[in-house]
């Protein structure tokens, strides 16, 4: 391993070697994470509904997602006749890209981080808004009323929920004084942020769930109303890319929440990576738990909840927290 690393650095230089290794690592993580999360989702859903979930392929159905993936790869890529061909093909790629960029700056452990940018947090949020663009592209290009409805809903929802999301993040930044992910983790060396600002953590999780279009905020792809929403016309691997991006976004959401509010990789006894993944998957479990507990919101309820409750709450929280911080300092 060490020899391979030295060979890579020797031939490519440290920067290029870091980029290649980081890219490979992220690609592997994205795939494995999606495979695991889809399985976990089905298991959680099953047990909450007093069923077992997948049981046939592999022990407790752990290989089910891989088999499903193989099926999706082998299926035909159907392009309907009246679609905007360029956008239709481009959308699944665009949706997948930000999911990978976000992982570049996430600190998995003290040293396990592809790039510790000084604008790390900004990078994640900047690229996560690409998600909306991709969904709009997919929904618009498909030339289908259900797709378009899903895309419109998604844009309205994502634009609205980004505001309280960023407002709560500002509270965290007031404490850490930096957008650098490692500084945010280090600012929680004594106490996790969630202890001082549980309301912010709650609002963040709600908004992040809405940002990733998860139930109970999954109206962009509401199956009972819009068939599949923005990905109605997609099939085969293009559909799988949307799916992959969704689960990667959930992972990023939970990873950012871990970094911002739950002390990142910090924790006693166990190594940092283990703590990081434990916290992240615990949060993902909560997101799944919420999905299988609550029914989907109506669209006006969703918008009212954001504009009338979350944004004022996030603003008040920010002002109060800033005041307290000013008094204490």
């Amino acid at each position: 391993m060490n020899a391979a690393w030295h060979y890579l650095v020797g031939t490519l230089g440290p920067d290029l070697a870091r980029i290649i290794l980081g890219l490979v690592g992220i690609l592997v993580l994205v795939q494995l994470n999606a495979v695991f999360l889809v399985w976990l989702e089905r298991k959680v859903a099953g047990h909450i509904q007093a069923r077992l979930g997948p049981m046939e392929v592999g022990p407790h159905g752990i290989l089910q997602t891989i088999v499903d993936g193989i099926k999706l790869v082998s299926k035909e890529l159907i392009t309907p006749r009246h679609v905007d061909r360029k956008l239709f093909v481009l959308a699944p790629i665009v949706v997948f890209l930000p999911a990978m960029v976000g992982l570049v700056v996430i600190p998995f452990s003290r040293h396990l981080q592809v790039r510790d940018l000084n604008v790390g947090l900004l990078l994640i949020f900047a690229f996560s808004s690409f998600n909306v663009l991709a969904i709009l592209m997919g929904g618009w290009a498909a030339n289908n009323k259900y797709s378009l409805m899903g895309a419109i809903r998604s844009v309205a929802q994502n634009v609205a929920y980004e505001i309280p999301l960023l407002l709560t993040v500002v509270s965290v930044l007031l404490w850490s004084d930096s957008l650098r992910m490692s500084s945010i983790v280090n600012s929680q060396a004594q106490v996790w942020n969630v202890v001082w600002m549980p309301v912010a953590a709650l609002i963040f999780m709600i908004c992040a769930t809405a940002e990733t279009n998860r139930a109970p905020f999954d109206i962009p792809e509401a199956e009972s109303e819009l068939v599949g929403g923005f990905h109605t016309e997609y099939s085969g691997m293009r559909f799988a890319l949307f799916f992959l991006a969704e689960y990667s976004n959930i992972f990023i959401e939970a990873a950012v929440a871990t970094t911002l509010f739950f002390g990142g990789w910090r924790g006693p006894l166990l190594p940092g990576v283990v703590w990081f993944f434990l916290k992240t998957y615990a949060l993902i479990f909560v997101v799944m738990w919420v999905r299988w507990t609550f029914p989907r919101l109506r669209f006006d309820q969703l918008m009212n909840f954001c504009w009338k409750i979350l944004i004022p709450a996030a603003l008040i929280h920010l002002v109060v927290y800033a005041g307290i911080l000013e008094l204490v300092k």
């Binding site: 099953g46 909450i48 509904q49 007093a50 069923r51 077992l52 049981m55 738990w289 299988w292 409750i309």
Partner: protein, 143 residues
Amino acid sequence: MLKEIIEGGWSLIAGMGVTFRRIYRPVVTVQYPRTQIEMSPGYRGHIEFKKFPETGTHNCVACSICMQLCPTNVIKVQGEKPNAHAEKRCSAYFIDFSHCSLCGLCVANCPTRTLKFSDEYEMSHYCRWESVVDLVQRLEESA
């Protein structure tokens, strides 16, 4: 407003408590081809003969009331008298359960109470003739 938020929030937490308890409780579904369960007593499969311990066989006298009552005409009974003084006995009893609506008129009206619902539930076949059952033969095979 605040009361509404607190009450609403509490109801959400209570709801999540309900689903969390479900996660570790035993599942109610059965992995069907791997494990099979006993059917409940009220289950209606297609009809079959009851076996009476006194005679060691069914009590069908081929009165053909079931045949006449059957709304979809799926029953065919044949009887024979071994000799002039003997009672009539059923020699063949066919049903085609692919048309049977499990209404139970035959079971309710059987004068010798020799019909009952079976606990058969694997009733799909590749051929229509496979849904035709000979109840006499079925009783002999079950013994």
